[in-house]
Amino acid sequence: MVLSKIDDYAVKAIHVFQVRTLRSLGFETRVALSNKSDNKEGLRTDYQINLSVYSGDGKEIKEHQNIAYLAASNILEIDCEHWADEKIDQVLIFHLVPVEYVQAGSIKLDEVSIERSKIWGLFTAQDHYVEYYKPDGFSSGVLYQSGAFNYKKFSMEETTIIQAPKIVVGDGVDTLVSLLHTSFERNYYRDAKLRCSLISPDGRVVSSWNEVIKPGTCRLISMRDQIGVKGIQIELKNKYLTLIAVCENAALLPLIFVVNDKQNTLAVEHSLPPLYYGQNITGRVRANVISQLSKSKIFKD
């Protein structure tokens, strides 16, 4: 077996879970972090949990070391409200640091030499859970994995495709597209440019527009507002649409939120990456897909 070692890999990027808070919709945030490293042969480890909290504009990061300890085969609930701002939406990154890289609560070395298979093994061992809750107990959440995006040592894929046939807009109902943009590179100042199109069931482009997402920030885009811009009337009966989006210069983390203002309910779902649809859509094939899609008529209003 050929082992592929990566030199100078950032310890804080070995295993991460990235979330956003949702104060703008009146929800509080908590996560459940799982450790199933014991399911992967030779990779069993406990984790020290460190946390990075980004300011609203993404320019400042507060680092919190050793906020929790997660033993192998355990699960841990963390309420983000202890760390996040009460008034704004923020990006939070949980760093699950294998304890071999930690001494007295601090990371021994910022960068280490590590097997690619180890990073991949720890990353794929489990997904983690984020949920948004109200003081009355109602909560809604989703399980997903989020790697160290926009860090070339983790992945060369720095693009995004979103296919979301799950946009619902109606009386009191809105769908909001959430986008997180982060990086683990030392000097990363690139704005992500996302081209978006809302498509009607019969394939017509209802609305087409561009979004810019600054690094270290999260965006929340109302599909109701987007339709409203085009002067389309929102009816009592729910209208179903499909969102297609492409970003050629960054890997973004998309989530879809469906909110019902009247009932105070929320649905959360992640997007399916292209690999789910076509097993070869990686590397050169993915680059071809991105190039063709960004030039396609889908993004012509």
Binding site: A32, S34, K36, N74, I75, E77, D127, H128, Y129, E131, Y133, D136, G137, F138, S139, S140, G141, L143, I161, Q163, A164, P165, K166, V168, V173, I199, P201, D202, G203, Y240, L241, T242, I244, I256, V258, N260, K262, Q263, N264, T265, L266, A267, E269, H270, L272, P274, Y276, Y277, G278, Q279, N280, I281, V285, N288, V289, Q292, L293, S296, K297, I298
Partner: protein
């Protein structure tokens, strides 16, 4: 046939054999996965809409990607009750309302499986073959008739009969008991074997048993399990969080859908 192939390989010059292989590849159709499946709910409480967009018009926009969506609906006992093919053009999305579909066959099916497979018309397109094994992923949207909630959940199984059962599934969710009335599980069985298993609610790390139910799910069927907070053991404090454990899943990733029902009737649901 095998012998004939061997003889041809021996007799014909290598460049011709290679050319033949190239030609054969050219005429091979795209490879598609087994149909993708998800649970639908269609009772007095829940309605479901299955949403499938022509993903090939996004992933291979240079070609005309029209084709047929093959839909098969099973009832909770795993019997096939409806099959239909729907023509889909490039960029189109089908939002299939299960109540409407099932009313057309006068079928009262409170829940079951819906399977989807997309067959593009240009089956031999090199653009499509380049994408590799194709899977017709779709999303299911669930809502309560009383408007007390909405959920969107992607499928996590196919009807691949070779997909192996898995054991000791521990959900990576934690279920807060704050304001909670019950946990409702919907367990599908995409396999061809009867499923006998136990579902349990336990405390997160010390695994103290709070509730357990034995369930049986017929092949291609679906079962609902209601776990009420009122049935938690008496004489001890309700734990702040619960974790779902299932002894055996019928296929590799066919974990149950987990629905939180709150005291005021609202719900939220996701895959566990």
């Amino acid at each position: 046939m095998k012998l004939l192939k061997k003889i041809i390989k021996l007799v014909l010059p290598r460049p011709i054999v290679e050319k033949y292989r190239e030609l054969r590849k050219l005429f091979e159709p795209v490879s598609t996965s087994f149909p993708v499946v998800q649970i639908y709910l269609n009772d007095d409480e829940f309605t479901s809409v299955a949403a499938f967009n022509n993903y090939l018009s996004v992933l291979a926009p240079k070609i005309k990607s029209d084709g047929f969506l093959e839909v098969e609906i099973y009832d909770l006992n795993g019997s096939s009750i409806l099959k239909k093919n729907i023509k889909i053009n490039s960029q189109e999305t089908i939002f299939l309302n299960l109540k409407t579909e099932l009313s057309l066959i006068n079928g009262k099916s409170p829940m079951g499986l819906i399977a989807m497979q997309f067959i593009p018309r240009k089956l031999r397109s090199s653009n499509l073959k380049e994408l590799g094994l194709l899977s017709a992923h779709f999303f299911m949207m669930y809502s309560k008739q009383s408007d007390k909630g909405f959920s969107v959940i992607h499928p996590s199984s196919t009807l691949d009969p070779a997909s192996e059962e898995s054991f000791n599934f521990r959900s990576n969710q934690l279920v807060s008991t704050d304001g909670l009335s019950s946990v409702v599980l919907f367990q599908a069985n995409p396999s061809l074997e009867m499923l006998h298993t136990y579902v349990r609610l336990v405390t997160p790390n010390d695994n103290a048993l709070m509730l357990v139910r034995k369930i049986e799910v017929p092949p291609r069927g679906v079962t609902r399990v209601d776990l009420s907070v009122e049935d938690l053991p008496e004489g001890r404090q309700t734990p702040p969080f619960l974790r779902l454990v299932v002894d055996k899943l019928p296929t590799s990733n066919s974990k149950p859908m987990l629905c939180r029902v709150y005291k005021d009737g609202r719900f939220s649901m996701s895959h566990s």
